[in-house]
């Protein structure tokens, strides 16, 4: 025992561990910084989990356009704990996105970005952007048909950048088309380039947390004055500060540990997201779907007015990023309490509602044709004793693709209006005009249907009342 102690003393003395690290982990922090202050550290621990599981995955993964899919099949189906490992990396990514969001919202609600912590916020915005980019490239490294089409979609978005869009798209894909270089590049972005930036910015972010101190819980009426704040803060710490370890840190550790355990349980129960079809760009019978955290973006592209979309695709993210960066410059002093900043709180609620709604409608994706719809059975139509014209109309309604977008009695898609009772709304003549000419978001079928086919479909629809 004594010898061990001596050895440790020697190491500690020569390495300077206690001298340099102890003051950092025991530095005083404001009292009453309780459970709402745990999201940042939880994000950090999730990131470490991602690094470790990512390294483990890289031992099994083939970063090659040709073989990645096979290696994923191997990891998922054959490698010991491979499916769980993929699952942890997936749920860890999901947790990181959620926690980054919560951390940011908490920082905004308590206005911790105000003086002198503007740079904390700015480095945090960088980390948010990196995290989203990691999420996007990560789902792509799964390199199934979803991965291939995700990279095409990303290239199309970059293509909207004026003048250089085409070149940016080509750089992203590593060539004129999807090919051998595509996955190598995404692998490099996901595994080397962006993580390197994340390490640097996390270090900077943490350094700033120590340098500027953890923000004290806000109190209505206690304003921030840049001239006196730093002195006041130091005085407050001297009088009431508590050591970070263990007085504050135990909460961070409990929450982080619980989150990591939950991630592992989720991974063990649900496993990794299933692979779709192989990454063959010539196979078109596939419906690309991004992972849930990309769904709000995906939904936005369907819902935006089509005329402004190409511009919005470029300006939307740009304005959002500029806005996020400018928040600490718009207001850097004064009131921090959320109770005294009603408009800021209103903004937070709006963003929440906006993102959650986009997520919900994006998962439903009602704008997409429902290619899986089954032929409408005669038992599902309104006419109780249909004649042969109506029956043919029912068959044509399915065969001509009407049912991809229109629902009748739970059969069909949701891109267009539900036609279960269309006979009440439109006359035979109106039905004909609508089908022949099309509508706001409906193709004109005038050149597609013969007169006879049109009559049959209309005869059927007229009975739907």
């Amino acid at each position: 025992m004594n010898i061990l102690k001596k050895i440790w003393k020697w190491i500690d003395d020569r390495s300077g561990f206690s001298e340099s690290i102890l003051p950092v982990i025991t530095h005083p922090v404001p009292p009453r910084a309780k459970w709402s202050y745990v999201f940042g550290s939880a994000t950090l621990f999730c990131f470490l989990l991602q690094v470790i599981t990512g390294i483990a995955l890289s031992l099994l993964y083939q970063p090659s356009s040709k073989e990645a899919y096979q290696s994923l099949e191997f990891i998922t189906n054959q490698a010991k704990f491979g499916n769980v490992l993929r699952g942890i990396h997936y749920f860890g990514a999901s947790a990181m996105i959620i926690l980054v969001g919560l951390h940011m919202v908490r920082t905004y609600i308590t206005a911790s970005y105000k003086f002198p912590r503007e740079m904390n916020w700015i480095s945090g915005v960088f980390l948010l952007i990196f995290t989203i980019f990691m999420g996007f490239t990560g789902q792509l490294l799964r390199w199934d048909s979803n991965g291939v089409w995700s990279s095409v979609v990303a290239a199309q978005q970059l293509g909207r950048v004026p003048f250089v869009g085409k070149y940016l798209a080509r750089l992203l894909l590593g060539g004129n088309t999807i090919g051998g270089q595509t996955l190598s590049r995404f692998y490099s972005y996901h595994v080397f380039i962006v993580p390197a930036f994340i390490f640097v910015f996390v270090a900077f972010h943490l350094f700033l947390v120590i340098r500027n101190g953890i923000s004290e819980p806000p109190k209505a009426g206690r304003l921030i004055d840049p001239k006196t704040y730093r002195r006041w803060y130091q005085e407050m710490l001297k009088q009431k500060g508590v050591p970070f370890w263990p007085d504050a840190a135990w909460r961070d550790i409990i929450v982080s540990a619980l989150i990591i355990i939950s991630i592992i349980i989720l991974a063990a129960v649900f496993g990794a997201p299933a692979l779709t079809t192989p990454p063959d760009p010539s196979m078109v019978q596939t419906s690309p779907n991004p992972d849930w955290y990309m769904v709000p973006f995906f939904a936005l592209f369907a819902l935006m007015p089509h005329k402004i979309e190409s511009v919005a695709m470029l300006l939307g993210p740009l304005i959002t990023i500029i806005l996020l960066f400018s928040i600490p410059f718009i207001s850097h002093k004064g009131e921090r309490s959320p109770l005294k900043r009603p408009w800021a709180m209103f903004g937070v609620i709006c963003v929440f509602v906006f993102v959650i709604s986009l997520l919900v409608i994006g998962i439903e994706a009602s704008w997409s044709p429902n290619f899986n719809t089954k032929p409408l059975p005669l038992t599902a139509i309104k006419a109780t004793n249909p004649d042969s014209t109506v029956i043919r109309g029912v068959h044509l309604f399915y065969a001509k693709g009407c049912q991809y977008c229109h629902t009748i009695n739970h059969y069909g898609g949701k891109a267009g209006p539900n036609l279960t009772t269309v006979g009440n709304r439109l006359s035979v003549q109106e039905l004909k005009i609508r089908i022949v000419n099309g509508g706001k978001n409906m193709p004109s079928f005038g050149g597609i249907l013969s007169g006879e086919e049109l009559d049959r479909i209309v005869a059927f629809l007229a009975t739907q009342k």
Binding site: K66, V153, R170, G179, G180, T182, T286, P443
Partner: protein, 158 residues
């Protein structure tokens, strides 16, 4: 001191050359597009639209199945072929030809095109992109091309 800083700068600059070259490699290479045979003229009936696949121009030996591209080949009459890129002009998702409905449909955001490639519904800002196609010794050939990227000006031309 100036010499030491200058020398350090020089070493960094020299090391950067191959690094930057690797980074922008896709912009440096110029690939000659190639005519690829996708079938015999008699394989395609007049009035039909068929999915054809072909190998991109000069793929890397390690590209595997990602070297493939797809096009929708429409035969209008004896001599007239049109080849549409399978990519939706909205965000590039793969459109599928619904032969009974006579429409191309995109699964991502509900883009729909008529048989001639013009937009029928949904968000696409412009008609389906076309590949060059020719008949050569009774074979239908498609000229490879870069992945069609919609640029920002497309929205103004609607």
């Amino acid at each position: 001191m100036k010499i030491s800083l200058g020398l350090a700068g020089l070493s960094a600059a020299i090391a950067a050359v191959p690094v930057i070259s690797a980074l922008i490699a896709p912009l440096l290479e110029s690939k000659e597009e190639k005519w690829r045979t996708v079938g015999k003229v008699t394989d395609f009936a007049a009035g039909t639209t068929t999915l054809v696949t072909f190998i991109n121009a000069d793929p890397e030996p390690y590209a595997g199945i990602t070297a493939k591209s797809a096009a929708w080949l429409r035969r209008n009459n004896q001599t007239d072929f049109i080849a549409f890129a399978a990519n939706c002009t909205h965000l590039g998702c793969p459109v599928r030809w619904e032969k009974d409905a006579h429409l191309f449909m995109c699964p991502c955001h509900g883009g729909v095109y008529y048989a001639n490639g013009t937009v029928a519904a949904g968000p696409p800002p412009k008609p389906l992109t076309r590949y060059e196609v020719r008949v050569f010794k009774d074979e239908v050939q498609i000229k490879t091309a870069p992945l069609p990227i919609t640029n920002i000006s497309a929205s103004r031309s609607v």
